[in-house]
Symmetry: C2
Subunit: 215 residues, 2 copies
DNA sequence: AATAAGCAAGCAATCGCTTGTTGGATTATC
DNA sequence: GATAATCCAACAAGCGATTGCTTGCTTATT
């Protein structure tokens, strides 16, 4: 093959292990962990039914690896997108858009696997929790910054949780071929948070049209 | 034969079908549809493993019945709570609180089963969709009313979807013994929507007070 | 030669569900 | 009012399929 990274020590990197990981993640997201059989995964990468167990000790291990890999990739994308953006309001907009991308438009929507956490045992769940905590800390920092600057009334935890709810729930209804693009959803969410949903009297900039066609 | 069920206290008319339904819903919410076996359900109500199939044709049928029952009960609670509340802003507050109750505090959190929709076939899913559409229509009507009164900048669909995200995501983090009560969460969500998260300069006139009493 | 990567076959457990049956309650018949 | 017929709700047992995973062997590359 092309990649010549073989004679390494412990971690058998690259090769078809990655393909296995990505395919498993995709199937887990599409059909759910329990509804996806190890045979499905093997078949999807062109292996026999028992071969995935050469690379992963168990089906749970496959899920755990996929979740951690996905969460860390999302974390890196988030960091890359918002470093250098000085204005916290603008940074928050970038983070919202990036987060939606992490959830819904990356080649495989790995972070959405958090739904499947309950299929893991306690220790694996703790590892996942550590990764998500790191992710959320970045958000809380920016929200705190906005509050310190007096641009948010409060940055207490309900705000962050409600914000994540707005965004993460998109996985339940967003469709790539639907009426709303990720850019539009991101803008709507950021506007709701940073400018509010209420119509403000003349002074503020809120001239937009009243309503569109209801669904 | 030894363990004759003597459920004398139970009313003769109250079939054990209902008990089956409630128990199944609880287990489905707790462990997920796939991870819950029909044997689990049978055992939880004190039956033998095959007996539930006297009342329900299939496991899927049990899920469908539980979902529809839960959705309609929630719909009734929503209607009961918000009829007679004239002011649309106050009505929205009541709806938000009632919705959180439907999700998180009723004896069994049946509406949270929407997560499990994908375990149903197409026709069953269509029935569920019809029930949820009816539920959402009530919300859209109130949002439209607020927009018409000029109190919302827009009532286009993203707003409703983001709002449901805020609330429904609570199922992922809310704990009854946690720091935030449902009342507090409901207030935070309603404030975010109706008053915005931003700190406004004192000059802005619009809705100043935090909680408003119906006029 | 040595090792990484995968195949072929199947095991043990579990799954949803079916079949045949039973005791008790209800209803119909005499 | 006693007896027979019917029905309800559940049990007992197990079938066929599927599941995650294991074992023993083969290939390909270095």
């Amino acid at each position: 093959m092309t990649a010549g990274r073989k004679r390494q020590g412990a971690p058998p990197e690259a090769n078809r292990r990655d393909e296995l990981l990505r395919t498993a993640a995709r199937l887990f997201v599409e059909k759910g962990f329990d509804a996806t059989t190890t045979r499905d995964i093997a078949e999807a990468v062109g292996m026999r039914s028992g071969s995935p167990f050469y690379h992963f000790r168990s089906k749970q291990d496959l899920l755990k690896a996929a979740m951690i890999e996905g969460l860390e990739a999302g974390y890196r994308r988030l960091q890359a997108a918002c470093t250098g953006v000085g204005d916290p309001a603008q940074r928050l907009r970038v983070m919202i858009r990036t987060h939606l991308g992490n959830l819904l438009e990356s080649d495989c929507h790995t972070p959405m696997l958090i739904y499947e956490s309950r299929s893991l045992d306690a220790t694996a769940r703790a590892e996942i929790a550590a990764a998500t905590d790191r992710y959320q800390a970045v958000w809380q920092a920016t929200l705190d910054e906005l509050a310190t600057l007096g641009r948010l009334r409060s940055s207490a935890s309900p705000l962050r949780l409600l914000l994540f709810g707005m965004l993460n729930w998109g996985g339940q209804w967003y469709r790539p071929d639907g009426r709303l693009s990720l850019d539009e959803i991101a803008e709507a969410a950021a506007d709701l948070l940073l400018e509010g949903a209420i119509a403000r009297p003349a002074g503020a900039a809120a001239p937009a049209g009243k309503r569109e066609t209801p669904p």
